[in-house]
Amino acid sequence: MNTRFIGGGPALLVKNRSRTLVVADLHIGIEADLAAHGWHIPSRSASRLERLLTCIAESDPDRVVLLGDVKHNLPQTTRQEYRELPGLLDAIREKAPLLVVPGNHDTGIARFLEPGELLPSGGAIIDGTGYTHGHTIPAPELAGHLILAGHHHPLVAIRDEVGCALRAPAYLRAGVDAAALFSRARKPGERQETGEPDPEKTVRGTRETRVLFMPAFNECAGFDVVRILRHPFSPLSRALRQETVEIFLADGTYLGPVRMTEPGEEYGPV
């Protein structure tokens, strides 16, 4: 499997036997929510769509996967979303087949999708890689794979000796404690269905479960990575093996382990 980091998305092209373009957390319709909270800016959905179409044109994918939180408002769908979503989704469909992993903000998204486009909320494996939104425990078959997840909107703040120099969207890659993550997928006492892959068996196998958190496509969203790690708020982030966490910028630049973003006692030659 190969990847290409598209900095001007941010978006990721996953190349295995086919080419999959992945984009997370569009949050179309966020402006209505902002207005309700006292921030009145016009909708930027058009410019977001343009950015997305550029990523598609640049990467020539066989399919586009929207990794959840395509829309923003919940529980209802707003007028803005009714107005903007159909056109946006159609524009994507024109270029490539569309698949959507639903996120916690995607209530009612089904009515905007065509049959076959909506994946289960626990996620799915596509061409050897796992995809889930990240707000719930992933589907058990994702164990033992690389799991791409959204929902966390990671932002990294690079600090130097004197202060904060840069804040930018980031990717977080880490190993996952699969036993801890998947063991609660089944309720106690429930028997495993035949044919269903046993996550624990996979874990005992040689394939490690790893996760890659994607930055949000929507430019208004973001949580500091340090917060994601210190105060995890999802099953996935709680199951991270923190010593394996690596941070990348949207263009693929490897920044290093978390401690590298903060100078001070933890940094520098001994």
């Binding site: 499997m1 190969n2 990847t3 290409r4 980091f5 902002l34 909270h37 006292g38 921030w39 009145h40 800016i41 016009p42 930027r44 690389l146 909107h153 932002l155 703040a157 690079i158 600090r159 130097d160 000796e161 004197v162 202060g163 904060c164 120099a165 840069l166 804040r167 930018a168 430019e219 208004c220 969203a221 973001g222 949580f223 500091d224 340090v226 917060r227 990348f248 910028l249 263009d251 693929g252 630049t253 490897y254 920044l255 290093g256 590298m260 973003t261 100078p263 001070g264 940094y267 520098g268 030659p269 001994v270």
Partner: protein, 898 residues
């Protein structure tokens, strides 16, 4: 016929009843002009009968030409409490002259307002904000049509602010209903009376009546000591000797501290803006009736509140500006033509020199100019919204005409157009061709934005360690700057943000200095450039004795300069900039005043920031700029940066730099609020504010943020001029150890200047990472030595300590086993291949030394890639960029994802 005789008979008999024996100079000159119907600016110190100068002729006109229904005269004054005073005096006059008088401001009860609408007064006393509100009511608008005289009191306060710009537009909106009316401005002493006149009248003609103040001032400067107890004792020796004393201080904190020390005497009270109205009125009354002989106050008392007789004004600490000193001392000696006695108590070396200069200038009437804000986009937005609601819909051309008549907006620009388009984005108005149409949001916006004063909500700061609230921050600052993990300073302590929720900020104490000071708004008055320079000249020429006869002051200054000499630290002055190394960074001793230092400091910071790829923190006052720098950047580096300053490029650098600072974001939020983009009660907790503020890029909102900061907060023209003088070597720049001048003093404004390119920050982070990566050096010659270390510790040319050879391979920690494999006596084919690879590796290290080791430490870079990177023959940043490129390629390959 003297002025007295030209007044209407009824007015003359009231004058007699009032017991005026003669008119003051101000009155002699002003009354005839006003009776002639001319526009006039009357500049006179407090207590010279300014109000009567204006009102007597106006009363005369009102009784001779009674109103046809509607309001005949408007008296506009900035502070609500002033209304009380003037109202009392006016009520007396109006009652005797048979004129109806009314007062209207924010606290006026509904019943009173309704009465005014039904039965309008002849004279209405009001505030600039309430004037705005008057345009909202249909009936009130009709009443305004009869206005013939408008008096603006304390106009010097208004002219320099956006509040004043809003008032100027308000007067032109009034013109639409009332036609031409007489404009009378009452002002304290300023350096540029004509500007005040233009502010009031636009292009209409006006006269200036100026009563010089200098002959009436008697100002002494005393050195009060360097410690607070000494200063309190110096103050005590000046008060309570039978007369009444006003003690002015520069900050509320100082007022409270002094009050705390002196309250036990029983004859001292305190007065400042944070106290409740009742407490303030009580203090005023008690001072007026003699119960209390000393009143400690801040600038809240500068304006003309009548507190009776003041015998002496004490200024505690330098007044910073000549205008301020003159206005404050002017409160003393309330009787006409009596001398105003004032004493400045200086509180330190720089403070003393500054006080001497300011006192000197005050006695020579060298008062600062007032600068009126021109083309303030947020004032325009506010007024367009108000006009839209007032008219429902209106042609853009009409709006352009209204604002074009003022002096605060330049005629013929596209500002109105751009502002309207921006407002439309925020749904504050609708544009229908050339018509501006009001919207539902507009009324709601006006209800909260009647005034240009920023109504800052205060966000409490809660310390999780002690479980106490430790202070408050301005909401705009929180919105613009604070994010989780942010570190800031308040109450002299460092805090790190844990959470922003439930309307409060939860923090914990922080150790590292990465701070920004919460608020720039407030009581810090900037010291002007000429004053700071002159103080610098006194240091250089040792001429303190020319400015004062006070022996203590002269002795103290002499001793201080002597100490500087003994320590062999050169004295920074108006011709010498001293750069001094400290633990925290470098102090740049530059006597240029706050605004120029702010601009200069930020540009130098930006250059240092770019050169060293690091954030630079700045804190400054009028005589010093502290640059917080990492330990490897020293005074010599700062000197080089200053040497590289080019006056031509400085403004551009400052603009670029400003954009990412907390100060800019804070202003951006304030101005965005005035454009209706952000509601006053907007929720700032759940949203990534930083990214949202990018939205205002290249908008008229951002433009206004720049305009305001570059005129009100920093002075780039002067900073560039200073850089020019440095270039011409008329000002020298030297480095030296920390001096007592450098170490002195209160640093007032703190901010951070991030490096200009994200690239630099990333580069710095990557360099750090590579330096701290572990590497295993192993000798491929004797095959008998390996050592685990970090890249930073590797020498330029690694040598094997056992055999002296330089054929050393650099392995990543997990490749350690490969060395053993490569050294086996009998190798498999795979192991043979490993040996070849290690030899290749060692050969690269042999030819390129540490650079090769660094490249080999990078992710996914093996001998082939390393060789390629080194062949590019790049150095420094370019070298690291090659490494980054190689890593990026690797990250996208299959191997990385296995």
């Amino acid at each position: 016929m003297g002025p007295f005789d030209r007044l209407d008979g009824r007015v003359r008999s009231c004058v007699g009843e009032r017991g005026f024996s003669r008119f003051s100079d101000a009155q002699e000159q002003a009354i005839p002009l006003i009776l002639d119907g001319r526009n006039i600016v009357l500049i006179a110190p407090t207590g010279t009968g300014k109000t009567e100068s204006a009102m007597l002729p106006v009363f005369s006109s009102l009784v001779q030409n009674p109103s046809q229904g509607g309001i005949s005269a408007l008296y506009i004054t900035p502070l609500r409490s002033l209304n009380r005073d003037i109202l009392a005096r006016m009520e007396w006059w109006c009652e005797r002259l048979g004129l109806k008088i009314g007062v209207r401001h924010g606290d006026t009860p509904m019943s009173e307002r309704r009465k005014q609408a039904l039965s309008p007064p002849d004279l209405l006393i009001t505030t600039p904000e309430t004037l705005q509100a008057l345009f909202m009511g249909k009936r009130l608008r009709k009443h305004l049509a009869g206005v013939r005289h408008v008096i603006v009191d304390e106009i010097h306060e208004l002219a320099g602010s956006k509040r004043g710009a809003q008032l100027a537009v308000g007067l032109e909106r009034l013109h639409v209903y009332a036609g031409s009316f007489q404009r009378i401005g009452l002002s304290a002493t300023v350096g540029n009376p004509d500007t005040i006149g233009r502010f009031l009248c636009g292009e209409r003609p006006f006269s200036v009546v100026q009563v010089p103040v200098a002959k009436q001032l008697d100002i002494a400067v005393k050195f009060a000591g360097t410690t607070f107890p000494e200063q309190v004792s110096a103050l005590t020796s000046l008060i309570g000797h039978g007369g009444s004393t006003l003690v002015f201080v520069n900050t509320r904190v100082t007022a409270e501290a002094l009050a705390h020390e002196l309250i036990g005497r029983g004859d001292v009270e305190v007065h400042h803006g944070s106290l409740s109205k009742e407490v303030r009125i009580d203090a005023e009354e008690r001072f007026k009736n003699g119960e209390v002989s000393t009143l400690i106050c801040t600038s809240s008392m500068e304006l003309g509140i009548d507190i009776g007789r003041v015998d002496h004004v004490v200024q505690f600490g330098s007044p910073r500006e000549v205008a301020r000193l003159v206005q404050r001392v002017g409160r003393a000696g309330h009787r006409l033509n009596a001398v105003s006695k004032g004493t400045i108590l200086a509180t330190g070396f720089s403070d003393l020199l500054e006080s001497l200069v300011i006192a000197w200038r005050a006695l020579r009437n060298e008062i600062e100019d007032v600068a009126i804000p021109v083309d303030a986009a947020d004032v325009l937005a506010n007024q367009v919204a108000a006009i839209a609601v007032e008219y429902g819909e209106i042609e853009r051309g009409q709006v352009e005409e209204i604002v074009g008549r003022t002096a605060v907006f330049t005629k013929g620009t596209d500002l109105v157009d751009r502002v309207c388009r921006q407002m439309e984005e925020h749904r504050l108005i609708r544009l229908d061709g050339s018509r501006i149409v009001t919207t539902a949001r507009a009324r709601k916006y006006l209800a909260a934005n009647l005034s240009m004063i920023h109504d800052e909500r205060k966000v409490p700061v809660f310390d999780i360690a002690t479980r106490r609230t430790v202070g408050t921050l301005d909401e705009s600052f929180v919105v613009g700057f604070v994010h989780t993990e942010a570190v800031f300073i308040t109450k002299g302590q460092l805090w790190r943000v844990i959470e922003i929720a439930d309307g409060k900020l939860t923090v914990e104490p922080a150790r590292k200095v990465q701070g920004e000071l919460p608020s720039w708004e407030g009581e810090q008055i900037p010291v002007p450039f000429p004053v700071a320079q002159e103080a610098g000249a006194i240091r250089r020429e040792k001429t303190a004795g020319d400015y004062t006869g006070d022996p203590d002051a002269v002795r103290y200054i002499g001793n201080f300069l002597l100490e500087m000499e003994r320590n062999r630290t050169p004295v920074p002055s108006d011709r010498l900039v001293m750069l001094e190394n400290t633990d925290e960074g470098v102090i740049c001793n530059l006597c240029a005043g706050h605004k120029a230092n702010e601009a200069f400091g930020r540009v130098v910071s930006a250059l240092l920031s770019a050169k060293f790829g690091t954030t630079v923190g700045i804190e400054l006052d009028a005589y010093r700029i502290l640059l917080r720098l990492p330990s490897h950047v020293r005074a010599a580096d700062v000197r080089d940066a200053i040497g590289a300053l080019d006056p031509v490029t400085m403004p551009g650098i400052l603009r670029l730099t400003l954009k990412r600072t907390a100060l800019f974001k804070w202003k951006l939020v304030q101005i965005a609020k005035k454009f209706g983009a952000i509601d006053p009660d907007a929720d700032f907790e759940r949203i990534s504010i930083q990214r949202l503020l990018d939205f205002f890029d290249k908008t008229v909102i951002q433009q206004e943020a720049y305009r305001e900061l570059l005129t009100d907060y920093m002075d780039i023209e002067t900073a560039a001029a200073v850089a020019g003088l440095i270039r011409k070597q008329e000002i020298a720049v030297k480095t030296g150890p920390l001096s007592i001048i450098g170490a002195e003093g209160l640093l007032t404004s703190r901010d951070e200047v991030p490096p200009p390119a994200a690239d630099q920050a990333v580069m710095a982070a990557v360099k750090r990472r590579l330096e701290s990566d572990e590497v295993i050096l192993c000798c491929m010659h004797c095959r008998n030595w390996k050592s685990r270390t970090v890249v930073a510790r590797v020498p330029e040319r690694p040598v094997c300590p056992k055999c002296g050879a330089r054929l050393i391979a650099a392995l990543k920690p997990w490749e350690e086993q490969l060395y053993a494999d490569a050294n086996k006596k009998k190798k498999s084919e795979e192991e043979r291949a490993t040996e070849l690879r290690l030899l290749k590796n060692a050969n690269i290290v042999l030819s390129s030394g540490k650079k090769a080791v660094t490249a080999l430490a990078a992710r996914g870079v093996g001998p082939e890639n390393a060789a390629r990177i080194l062949r590019s023959l790049t150095d420094g940043d370019a070298f690291y960029r090659e490494i980054l490129k190689a890593e990026r390629t690797f990250v996208q390959t299959h191997r990385f994802w296995q």
